[in-house]
């Protein structure tokens, strides 16, 4: 089975009001072609789950600047002033999450876990409204799993079965997000035949990936 689809078919999967995970860290390892196509399509009222909101002219930030985002769940928004402005004006909801917590919440969703217990955030605003558990004398926050309707990820090399290899620092949230959405689309820097990636080097097994779009 060949999972390749066109960019038009890929963005057609993303509908108004959906919750969308987007891979990348400050635009490194983000699916740039899909983001550009979403900007062009103008799909709106999205909830974006991502490490950060990139920059105003690069990465996830383009969707924010174009007014397509209703809510952001991220760890850092400081590199995109537009995110802060829209948040302060009450035009976009922003939920800030410690980076390691967001990673584990996504991993938990993908791994069928009911949440994670983390000591991070105790004594800070992050703990407000959350259950705390004491285990062996140490206090932990209960953080719930985070999943999405669609995950849009980027891989350096992808075979037609959807197996993904990520180069250098482009992994970041991509392999986690690939496990935690109803539909997963990977933007491939290079598409190769089955067997074109040494199975030892597969970082996201193809079973997690629904569709492949060439970058």
């Amino acid at each position: 089975m060949d999972k390749q689809i066109s960019i038009e078919e890929a963005v057609a999967q993303v509908k108004d009001g959906m919750t969308v995970m987007i891979g990348g860290f400050l635009a490194c390892g983000s699916p740039h072609r899909i983001i550009d196509a979403l900007v062009q399509k103008g799909v709106k009222d999205l909830t974006i789950i991502a490490n950060d909101t990139g920059f105003i002219d690069k990465g996830i930030g383009k969707l924010v600047v174009n007014g397509q985002v209703k809510k952001v769940v991220a760890t850092h928004i400081g590199t995109n002033k537009e995110t802060g402005r829209l948040m302060n004006e009450g035009k976009m909801e922003v939920v800030l999450v410690p980076q390691g917590t967001l990673a584990e919440q996504i991993r938990a969703a993908g791994a069928g876990l009911g949440g994670v217990l983390t000591p991070i955030g105790i004594g800070t605003p992050v703990a407000e409204g959350k259950d705390q558990l004491v285990i062996d004398g140490k206090t932990y926050l209960l953080e719930k799993p985070v999943k999405a309707d669609i995950a849009l990820i980027a891989g350096t090399k992808v075979d037609v079965k959807g197996n993904v290899f990520y180069r250098e620092a482009t992994q970041n949230f991509n392999p986690l997000m690939a496990t935690a959405a109803d539909l997963v689309i990977v933007e491939a820097g290079e598409v190769v035949e089955a067997g074109g990636i040494d199975p030892h080097l597969v970082m996201t097994p193809g079973l997690f990936v629904d569709y492949i779009v060439k970058a």
Binding site: G29, G78, M87, P98, Q99, G100, A103, G123, T170, L176
Partner: protein, 215 residues
């Protein structure tokens, strides 16, 4: 020597050969320039690798390989790449010997605030809460005051990054340890008197019986 270089030089003396360290953005990234010969640090980049090398020259910039500030870097021989869950497992799991980061405020209980100023600046915590919560030692490296206004307080007034986690504070004026009895001044910059250092500090400083010069 300007204040930042004094601080970076002193922080560089904190490490032994092979220490795994995460350096925050800004001043802390200057530290490796000053570690003594024979001390090789394993520098972590929380976006997903161990073994940060020097910044590349223009011809070797590779946007798949950036640090947690989005700046292109290189990796040293023996480096390793991983995803965000593994990266924060390293951080939260206590596998880093130290983290060095700046602060807006730090107090005599070892509380740290460095991620937001309500109503003004809300960049998000990124990985800071995990780093401060998880590293074996938390070293705050910062200028002693903000344009004369104390940053080392009796009690932080800004939202905390983490509670009671700071081990040591290094400024251009001196070195202070957080102890159950409060802040202990263990070293001073001979350009200042102990009285001047106390006057620039809101928290009460106890002077160590082994007080010595920073350099």
């Amino acid at each position: 020597m300007d204040a930042k270089e004094i601080i970076a030089r002193r922080v560089a003396q904190e490490f032994k050969d092979g220490d795994a360290v995460n350096l925050g953005i800004g001043l802390p990234t200057m530290v490796p320039n000053f570690v003594e010969e024979g001390v090789e640090l394993q520098l972590q980049s929380e976006n997903g690798f161990m073994g940060i090398g020097p910044e590349p020259d223009e011809a070797h910039v590779d946007m798949d390989l950036v640090n947690a500030g989005g700046i292109p870097v290189t990796v040293v021989p023996g480096a390793a790449f991983f995803d965000s869950a593994a990266s924060f497992g390293i951080i939260r799991g206590g596998h880093l010997d130290a983290t060095v980061l700046g602060a807006l405020q730090v107090d005599e209980e070892g509380n740290l605030a460095n991620w937001m100023i309500p109503g003004k600046l809300v960049p998000g915590m990124g990985g800071a809460m995990d780093l401060v919560g998880g590293a074996k030692r938390v070293i705050v490296a910062m200028t002693h005051t903000a344009k004369g206004s104390p940053k080392i307080l009796k009690k932080c007034t800004l939202p905390l990054t983490a509670a009671k986690k700071v081990s040591r504070i290094v400024t251009e004026m001196g070195v202070m340890d957080v102890t159950p009895q409060g802040l202990l001044l263990i070293e001073y910059n001979p350009e200042y008197t102990v009285e001047q250092i106390q006057a620039a500090t809101e928290a009460k400083l106890t002077v160590s019986s082994q007080l010595k010069k920073m350099f």
